[in-house]
Amino acid sequence: MTRAHLAAGMLLSTLVLGTAGEAFAQTRRPSAGTRPSRPSPPFRPGSIEVDVGVLWLGGIDFGSGTAAISANGIPSADYPLFRTASQLRAGPAYEGRIGVRLTRTIGVEGAFQYARLPLETRISGDVEDAPSLTASNDLARYVVEVSGVLHLTRYRIGRNGSPFLLGGAGYVRELDESQALAETGGLYHAGGGFKYLFSERTHGLIKGLGLRADARIYFRQGGFELEDGDPLRRFVAGGASLLVAF
C-alpha cells in the first residue's frame, strides 16, 4: 500500500467514525441519583436486539471405562485389556442472537451457535503393553436455542449497564469430522449477565450499541455420548458479544 493510499484509508475511517460519533452523540443520560421513569429507546417494548460474539464452552467429562473380556474363573470376573477416559474438550463457539423486548423487563431471544470441539479418548494400561495414546476426532457442533430473558431494570451497572437473567432450551446437532454420523440432542440452559450500552440514540434505525457479557450453565442430553443411557451432561459457558439495538 502506498503512502497516498494509506492516507486515504485513514481519512475514510475517520469519516465513518466521525459520523458514528455524531449519530450517537445524542445519548440521553439520566441525571445522577435518579432512576429513569421510562425505558431508554433501545429498551422499549418491541425493540429488537442483535448480538454477535464469542462464547467459551466448557468441556464434558465422559468418564472412564475398561475394555474387558470374561476371566476364566468361577465365578467369572472381568479380565481387563485396556482402559479409556474420554472427554469433549473445552473450546470457543461463535454465537449470534436476536431478541425482542416484549415488555420493559421481559424479552425472548433466539440464538445460533457453531463450535468445533475435540472429542478425545485417552487409552492406557494395555494388557500387552501397546503404547498409550490419546485418540481424537473433531466434532462440529451446531446449536439452535430459544431463551426467555428477564431484564433487571431496577439495578444498574455503571451508567448504562443493566443485569439480566435468562433460561431456555435448544437443539444440538453434532457431526464428526468425516461427516459420517450426526448425533442430535436437547440442551437446557440458565444463566445471567449484563448489557452495557456505550451509545444510544433516539432517531434512525440503530438505537444503541453496546456490549453483552453473560455466563450460562448448560445441561445436554443426546449428541455424541460415550456412556450408555444418555446421561444428562452439564457444562458451563461464558462469553461476550457486540450488541446492536434497533
Binding site: 470374561s70 476364566n72 468361577i74 474420554s86 479418548t121 485418540a135 476426532n137
Partner: protein, 338 residues
C-alpha cells in the same frame, strides 16, 4: 481335516472341521468360515431354514441322551434369540447314526475319541463349493472327557451347553474368534486367561458356565451371515488396512471397542494388502486396536502355517466414528516391528 466327495447329487462338496480345545489357543474376533478359489470367495451358510438336525440316542456318564438333546436345544435357541440374525433350527429326532456319517443328515452326539485328548468337540461340514451352501453339518462331543449339564456347572466336568453353543456357531458357518487371552501351560498347550467370544477356540475351565451366553463379537458374526431386524441399516462397519513399513500384514487381528457399551468386536486383515472389515458395529465412537496373532495356533484360524507376528500391539491414533448403515473407511493403522 479336509477332503472332497460327492454329496446328494451336488457336483462337489468339501468336508471341513472346526474344533474346540480344552486348553490350547488365544487372541481376538469373529471370523466367517469361507472358501476361496480363483473365482473369488464365498461364505458358508445355510440357505434352507430351519436347519434340521438329529441327536444321537446314546448318553455318557452323567448325561443322558435326552439331557444331551435339551442342552443342544438350549444352545440353538440362544443363537435363534439374536434379534439381528435370522436363524432357525428344527429337531428331527434321535438317531443311531454316528455324528460323522455321510448320510445327508446333520447329526450331533457323543463319540469316543480318546486319541484326541485335548479336543472337547468338533464340527464338520459338507458344503457346495460353488455357493458355500451348507448341506450337512455334524457335531461330535468327545465322550472321553467328563461332561455336565448341572445348572450351575460341576467342578471337574465341562459344561455341555457351553460347548454346544460354540459348536452351534460353527454349525451356522462361524469360524473361530481370536477375542481372548492365554498363557502357556507347563505341560504344553495354552491356558485361557479370558475370552470375549463364545467362538474363542479354547474353552473355559471345567465347571465354568460363562460360555452359555453370546458376546457382542458372536452376535456381530452371526448377524453378518444371516442379517435380520434392520441389522444392515442400524449398524455400521470400519474398513481399513494394517501396514508395517508400507506393506500390508495378512492375519493382523483388529478389534473395535465401543466405549459407550463396552462391546468388543474384531476381525482379521484377510488380504495380503492388510485390508480388514469389521461389520455389525453400533453407530458411534470406537477405539481400534491391532495385535499380532502371536500366541495362538494359527491353524485354528487360517489355512496357512505362518503369519507376520513381529509387530507391536498398536492403537489407532484417531477415534473412529462408525456411521449408521455405512462404513468408516480410509483407515490405515501403521504398526512397528517389536
Amino acid at each position: 481335516m479336509r477332503r472332497c466327495r460327492r454329496v446328494g447329487g451336488r457336483s462337489v462338496a468339501v468336508l471341513l472341521a472346526c474344533t474346540v480345545f480344552a486348553g490350547s489357543t488365544p487372541a481376538q474376533a469373529y471370523l466367517k468360515l469361507g472358501l476361496r478359489d480363483s473365482a473369488g470367495s464365498v461364505s458358508l451358510r445355510w440357505t434352507a431354514q430351519p436347519a434340521r438336525y438329529s441327536v444321537t440316542d446314546r448318553g455318557v456318564p452323567g448325561v443322558s441322551s435326552e439331557q444331551l438333546r435339551q442342552a443342544i436345544e438350549r444352545a440353538f435357541r440362544t443363537w435363534e434369540d439374536v434379534p439381528t440374525a435370522s436363524v432357525r433350527f428344527q429337531f428331527g429326532g434321535f438317531t443311531s447314526a454316528e455324528p460323522l456319517d455321510d448320510d445327508n443328515t446333520s447329526t450331533l452326539g457323543f463319540l469316543s475319541r480318546p486319541d484326541l485328548e485335548r479336543v472337547l468337540a468338533s464340527t464338520s461340514f459338507f458344503v457346495d463349493l460353488r455357493t458355500g451352501e451348507i448341506l450337512e453339518s455334524d457335531v461330535f462331543f468327545n465322550s472321553s472327557v467328563p461332561w455336565s449339564v448341572a445348572q450351575n456347572g460341576e467342578p471337574g466336568r465341562f459344561d455341555l451347553e457351553s460347548i454346544a453353543l460354540h459348536e452351534a456357531g460353527h454349525f451356522l458357518g462361524l469360524s473361530h474368534s481370536a477375542l481372548g487371552e492365554t498363557e502357556p501351560r507347563s505341560g504344553g498347550g495354552r491356558r485361557v486367561l479370558g475370552a470375549g467370544a463364545v467362538m474363542f477356540p479354547i474353552a473355559f475351565a471345567s465347571g465354568n458356565v460363562e460360555g452359555r451366553r453370546l458376546f457382542p463379537d458372536d452376535i456381530a458374526g452371526v448377524s453378518d451371515i444371516y442379517p435380520d431386524g434392520g441389522f444392515r441399516q442400524e449398524t455400521g462397519s470400519v474398513q481399513g488396512r494394517v501396514t508395517k513399513e508400507g506393506d500390508g500384514i495378512f492375519g493382523a487381528h483388529v478389534v473395535a471397542y465401543d466405549p459407550r457399551t463396552g462391546d468388543l468386536v474384531g476381525n482379521f486383515a484377510l488380504e495380503e494388502t492388510g485390508e480388514f472389515i469389521i461389520a455389525g458395529l453400533r453407530p458411534g465412537t470406537h477405539v481400534l486396536r491391532v495385535e499380532p496373532l502371536d500366541d495362538a495356533e494359527i491353524e485354528s484360524f487360517f489355512d496357512q502355517p505362518s503369519l507376520d507376528v513381529d509387530f507391536q500391539p498398536t492403537f489407532y491414533e484417531r477415534l473412529v466414528i462408525v456411521p449408521r448403515g455405512g462404513g468408516a473407511q480410509s483407515i490405515e493403522i501403521a504398526v512397528r516391528a517389536r
